[in-house]
């Protein structure tokens, strides 16, 4: 039996809804306008996503900051209240447990937002399997509240103006990677963060399950005549792909370190001990084995996850994600390849697509960056 979010009942009757099994959740891959239509709406206007399947874990107590800083590779001690931070969370060997967002209310209270398919694994890792928690005399209180929380992402260059109109002019003051929990939406309590997974400006809105349908309908009904679309996971994937935002299970796995995925910015090797530090520091010192690059197909074909990548007849890696970019209209792939090949932007590689070697060339990433945005 597939799990459903509370919004399932709202959109199950939408025109053209196509539902898929996404890691045990029955979720929409797209609605009537299709993945490309929804993708373009988010790049040009705004779109609304149900991402209630994401997991939420609360961490409370005096040792919260120390504990989270042990778990993740980024430095949460540099955060201030009402800030969000992205970070990988690693195993001792430098492989990735998950990547997550850390929300700091105070040094004694945090919210961790993790990937849906990893919630149980993460909670088990965080609450009992890691070395810190096994040894700690004073443990923070941990709670997996995923089952009670819904999440709606409102993404796109016009999301801010709609939110100002429909929620409060004050949302405009929420800076990138910050949040507020004191603004109501249509009278409903919400956590609103200026975060997202599309490469566009936008907001992620956390709600109690019982309020999610009302807020979804409130936001969509007020904006659908202005071109705002409900969007599915298909567009979420193509949007994050164009912007080179990693997807756990593809660019990051237990067998791919964040340094290999070119996320060194989020790995603070100069902070005090954290899980995976020794392994990651050793990688950095002795040479990071692989690197995540972008390629564009020269021959026609779609480079899909898992296809092998070759240089001069030798296998040098594989595709982690690939599709036809809706905005660039090109067949693009992210490839995890050996370091030290000397490959530069524009150089040719080959992708084995169903037994045929097809030419591709390395291109700059992210593939797409919205230049209209004022913030990163």
């Amino acid at each position: 039996m597939l799990k459903r979010t509370v919004l399932y009942d709202v959109y199950k009757n939408y025109d053209g809804v196509k539902l898929i099994d996404f890691g045990g959740w029955e979720l929409p891959v797209n609605f009537e306008k299709g993945i490309i239509g929804e993708h373009m709406a988010v790049r040009e206007n705004a779109g609304l996503f149900d991402v209630s399947h994401m997991g939420e874990i609360t961490v409370e107590g005096d040792t919260s900051e120390e504990f989270i800083n042990y778990l993740v590779t980024n430095d949460v001690s540099a955060m201030h209240d009402n800030q969000c931070m992205y970070s990988p969370m690693c195993y001792p060997d430098g492989g990735v447990v998950d990547d997550l967002l850390v929300y700091r209310y105070s040094t004694g209270k945090y919210l961790l937002v993790v990937n849906a398919s990893n919630v149980d694994k993460d909670f088990s890792w965080i609450s009992k399997e890691n070395e810190w928690i096994k040894k700690a005399s004073e443990k923070p209180v941990l709670e997996n509240i995923s089952g009670r929380m819904s999440q709606i992402a409102f993404q796109g260059p016009k999301a801010e103006s709609y939110m100002k109109e429909l929620v409060s002019p004050e949302v405009a003051d929420i800076e990138f990677f910050h949040f507020r929990d004191d603004l109501k939406i249509d009278g409903k309590k919400a956590i609103i963060s200026r975060t997202g997974y599309t490469g566009e400006d936008g907001f992620e809105i956390y709600l109690a399950n019982e309020d999610a349908a009302d807020v979804w309908n409130y936001l969509l009904n007020a904006t659908k005549d202005r071109g705002v679309l409900p969007c599915g996971l298909g567009a979420r994937d193509t949007l994050r792909f164009e912007s080179k935002l990693p997807l756990y299970g593809h660019e990051l796995t237990k067998d791919i370190s964040p340094l290999e995925a070119n996320l060194s910015y989020f790995v603070k090797l100069d902070k005090k001990d954290f899980c995976g530090k020794a392994a990651l520091a050793a990688q950095k010192e002795h040479g990071i084995p692989r690197t995540l690059r972008g390629c564009e197909m020269v021959d026609k074909g779609v480079p899909r996850a898992g296809y092998t990548v070759h240089l001069n007849g030798k296998e040098i890696g594989f595709v982690t994600s690939g599709t036809k970019s809706p905005i660039l209209n090109k067949f693009l792939g992210l490839v995890l390849i050996k370091r030290g090949t000397g490959l530069k932007i524009g150089d040719e590689i080959e992708v084995n697509i169903n037994g045929k070697m097809k030419k591709a060339k390395l291109v700059k990433t992210p593939f797409f960056k919205n230049t209209k945005q004022t913030q990163q």
Binding site: N30, I35, G234, T238, G301, T323, N354
Partner: protein, 125 residues
């Protein structure tokens, strides 16, 4: 659901239009709807031998690749090169956009395919 009368259908949602010894093959309207936005059609090589119900080529939506099986055995004699640059033609009119044509080695295989009425019934299940 659009299911033209003059075509033959497979349970894998391919259609075949027979002209003499040659069967033109595409995917059905139902299949294109299920796939969503089609971004690439891999065209098989001319003269390739194909077997009935075996994968002859593939068609790709934004999300995933799907096999296209040949409804009949024989040799590929023609491919629809228009699809090379306009894969979305399959979304626009799945029955106009044939993918490849097979010169049949055993035309009696056509008898095992569904007619329009049977395919509609199959879709209704």
């Amino acid at each position: 659901m659009n299911v033209p009368e003059n075509l033959k259908y497979t349970e894998d949602h391919e259609w075949a239009r027979v002209e003499g010894k040659v069967a033109y093959v595409g995917i059905t309207d139902h299949a294109q709807q299920e796939l969503g936005d089609i971004v690439y059609v891999e065209l098989p090589d001319i003269d390739t031998e194909v077997e009935k119900d075996e994968e002859a080529t593939s068609i790709e939506s934004v999300k995933a690749a799907a096999p296209v099986n040949s409804p009949v055995s024989g040799k590929i004699v023609k491919v629809n090169e228009d699809l090379e640059d306009e894969a979305e033609l399959v979304n626009k009119d799945a029955y106009a956009a044939y993918i490849f044509a097979v010169e049949m080695s055993d035309p009696s295989e056509l008898d095992s395919l569904m007619d329009a009425a049977a395919y509609k019934k199959f879709l209704g299940k």
